[in-house]
């Protein structure tokens, strides 16, 4: 088993282009978007292999177990997809504002607030038909998370507060609010050693996609990513956002309402992360508690940057990172690697993919004669 075959994204990356040189040049841009990240991924895996080899582990075993744990069996695939589901949604929280040139790293906070508001909606509507409760939870999660990131956007637009820092500070504040409420006002007295809210009820859980163990959050994520792609690349609104992202002053000159753009995009971004929070409650935990802060919001930042902020590219990248975390357990058990090896690998991949940004438009054989 080699590094190349260890990962489907990489396998795509090494597909040899056809011999006709014309095709290479005509589709150079598109090929680059597959080839360069693929090469970066291969490089990162090679470096990680050397790293574990320094600790006396066989890199080939490493690649095999990574492949096996992430994509080797039907169970592994379900494991990977389950972990990818929240990442697609939280990645949108960073990718959407990036169209405007904003760097939002507070998806975790929006996820927590979204989960809290979705839970509140479900608890307030106990006894109504499950479908209504579930729709209310979706609306609650989106509005809660949306307003949370919209706050960061509004602070940037009206007070000039840097959105990267404010969205991060809002994560810590959201966590404190969550802990304060689940240990206080919203605590179910019967939740003894794990302070939690009351349960939303088994009937209101959204369950799994039939025939699988993967919950419906994956479908929510896929729909949201496709919708975000259409919004950004195929609507006037998205066009305006990209213009503003390129140059705020130009956008003002052509009369685009920059405030409206910022607030709307931030609301949608936070809404996506809030939806991830709703899914965690309605598909996994069944109630709100401190377990919701599992770091999906932070991994989402990584996914968004690796996907170069493209909503569609988020899907394969989220699956890739879901696979890495799915295989992490196997690496611990079979190779005796510490849990932190997943973090190290993520960091290396991130560094390589970012470094590879410099390569776009510079690969000789794709450029043709100009």
């Amino acid at each position: 088993m080699t590094a190349e075959a260890a990962d489907p994204a990489e396998a795509v990356g090494t597909v040899a282009p056809a011999a006709d040189p014309g095709i290479l040049q005509r589709h150079g841009g598109a090929i680059e978007y597959v080839l360069i990240p693929g090469a970066a991924l291969a490089g990162a895996l090679a470096v990680f292999g050397i790293f574990v080899a320094m600790f006396g582990k066989n890199p080939l075993d490493l690649y095999f177990y990574m492949y096996y744990g992430a994509f080797g069996t039907w169970f592994s695939w379900q494991n990977t997809l389950t972990r990818a589901a929240p990442l697609i949604l939280t990645a949108l929280c960073t990718a959407l504002p990036a169209q405007l040139g904003m760097v939002i790293i507070g998806g975790e906070g929006a996820l927590l607030i979204g989960a809290l508001s979705a839970t509140s909606a479900a608890l307030a509507l106990q006894g109504l038909p499950p479908l209504i409760v579930q729709i209310a939870m979706v609306i609650g999660g989106v509005i809660g998370g949306g307003l949370w990131i919209m706050l960061a956007g509004a602070l940037r637009q009206y007070r000039g507060v840097n959105e990267t820092i404010s969205s991060l500070l809002l994560v810590y504040i959201a966590l404190a609010v969550l802990n304060h409420l689940v240990e206080g006002a919203m605590r179910d007295p019967a939740s003894l050693n794990k302070p939690s809210t009351r349960e939303i009820g088994a009937a209101n859980m959204i369950g799994s996609i039939p025939g699988t163990d993967v919950h419906w959050g994956l479908v929510f994520g896929l729909i949201a990513a496709v919708a975000a792609y259409i919004l950004i690349y195929h609507t006037v609104f998205g066009f305006a956002a990209r213009v503003a992202g390129g140059n705020i002053r130009a956008a003002r000159i052509v009369g685009l309402g920059v405030s409206k753009l910022i607030l709307t995009i931030c609301f949608l971004a936070g809404g996506a992360a809030g939806l991830a929070g709703m899914v965690e409650v309605a598909a996994v935990q069944g109630r709100a508690n401190a377990n919701l802060a599992a770091g999906y919001g932070f991994t989402g930042i990584l996914v968004a940057f690796l996907a170069r902020q493209n909503p569609l590219a988020i899907i394969p990248v989220a699956i890739l990172l879901g696979g890495i975390s799915a295989s992490g357990g196997l690496l611990q058990r079979r190779l005796g690697l510490p849990d932190a090896s997943v973090l190290v690998l993520q960091g290396i991949i991130f560094v390589f993919v970012l470094g590879s940004d410099a390569l776009y438009g510079r690969i000789g054989f794709l450029k043709g004669k100009s």
Binding site: I105, L169, H180, V342, Q346, G347, F350, V351
Partner: protein, 308 residues
């Protein structure tokens, strides 16, 4: 007070103690980041540098028996991570914020990976100097048992303030941060200036980490930094890239971190989660009050990606 209790005085004393004990990592990271950002680059990866510094300092102190060698090792580790950051950022079209996030992951992961065997052993710690010998209140004496690194940090702030204004190096860093074209026109390599500034920033952040593992709380474990590194980066922005304001802001953060436990110890028991979040709420509030949409931040280096 016959029983040795000082009652409500605990709170101001704990805040003072916190300002001294907890602020040092904030201080070193924020001063380091101040240098980096003044040169026109932002390094969000200092959280990873801080954790990596804490781990390597503890490891070297344990292996060699000398905590000061540990501090040095932490600084060197930090400088290497800084060089990595600067190296990647010097490639065309690479976003420095993203590289910072990548190095935050990488540094934290590497520190956890290499630090597993260091959780159990006890390494020699940095000594404290007793500045409270004149007092017979044991609580005050405890507060005034100060590590020399805190004093170095406090001294560093005015030195940096002065250096930015008057020395050639200070001017060069500021020029690179204000206008890379101007620096280039003067015949200097902007990339090289930023590389050095980021390495010095990393060096200081690594040292800040060594304070965590070698002085207070004083041991290595994976929960050691609860976001101090990233908070310190935020702190630089609200300190307006001014080393003296970084000092005050770090002291305020340290004091705020001590507030939650201290209030509980005198009987204010409700809402401790919110008290624990006080430093973050405080930062956000100060940023909201002091920022303005009309102009770029005063003191902001014009080349900095987050202020453009």
């Amino acid at each position: 007070m016959a029983d040795g209790s000082i009652g409500l005085w605990t709170v101001p004393l704990a805040v003072l103690g916190g300002a001294i004990r907890v602020s040092t990592p904030f201080l070193f990271v924020s001063l380091g980041e101040c240098i980096t950002e003044r040169s026109g680059r932002i390094n969000l990866g200092l959280e990873g540098t801080l954790v990596m510094g804490a781990m390597s300092a503890y490891g070297i102190s344990y292996l060699t028996g000398s905590p000061w060698l540990g501090v040095l090792a932490a600084g060197i580790t930090g400088a290497l991570l800084g060089a990595l950051h600067a190296g990647i950022c010097s490639l065309p079209r690479v976003n420095d914020i993203a590289v910072g996030i990548a190095l935050m992951l990488f540094g934290t992961g590497l520190a956890f990976y290499l630090g597993k065997p260091l959780i159990e052993p006890t390494a020699p710690r940095l000594p404290a100097i007793d500045f409270g010998w004149w007092s017979d209140i044991p609580q005050l004496r405890a507060v005034l048992r100060i590590n020399v690194m805190f004093l170095i940090g406090v001294a560093l702030a005015p030195i940096l303030y002065w250096a930015f204004r008057t020395t050639r190096w200070g001017l060069l860093i500021r020029t690179a941060g204000e206008s890379s074209d101007a620096a280039r026109a003067m015949g200097y390599s902007v990339l090289l200036i930023r590389l050095r500034a980021t390495m010095v920033g990393g060096f200081l952040a690594g040292i800040g980490g060594s304070f965590l593992s070698l002085f207070y709380p004083g041991s290595w474990n994976e929960g050691l930094s609860s976001g101090q590194g990233i908070t310190a980066v935020a702190l630089v922005i609200f300190a307006r890239w001014d080393p003296l304001l970084c000092l005050w802001a770090s002291l305020a953060f340290g004091g705020a971190a001590a507030l939650g436990p201290a209030l509980q110890s005198v009987g204010v028991t409700s809402g401790y989660h919110l008290f624990n979040a006080a430093p973050y709420i405080l930062t956000l509030a100060i940023m909201i009050i002091t920022c303005s949409p009309k102009r770029t931040l005063t003191g902001a280096p014009a080349e900095l990606s987050i202020t453009r």
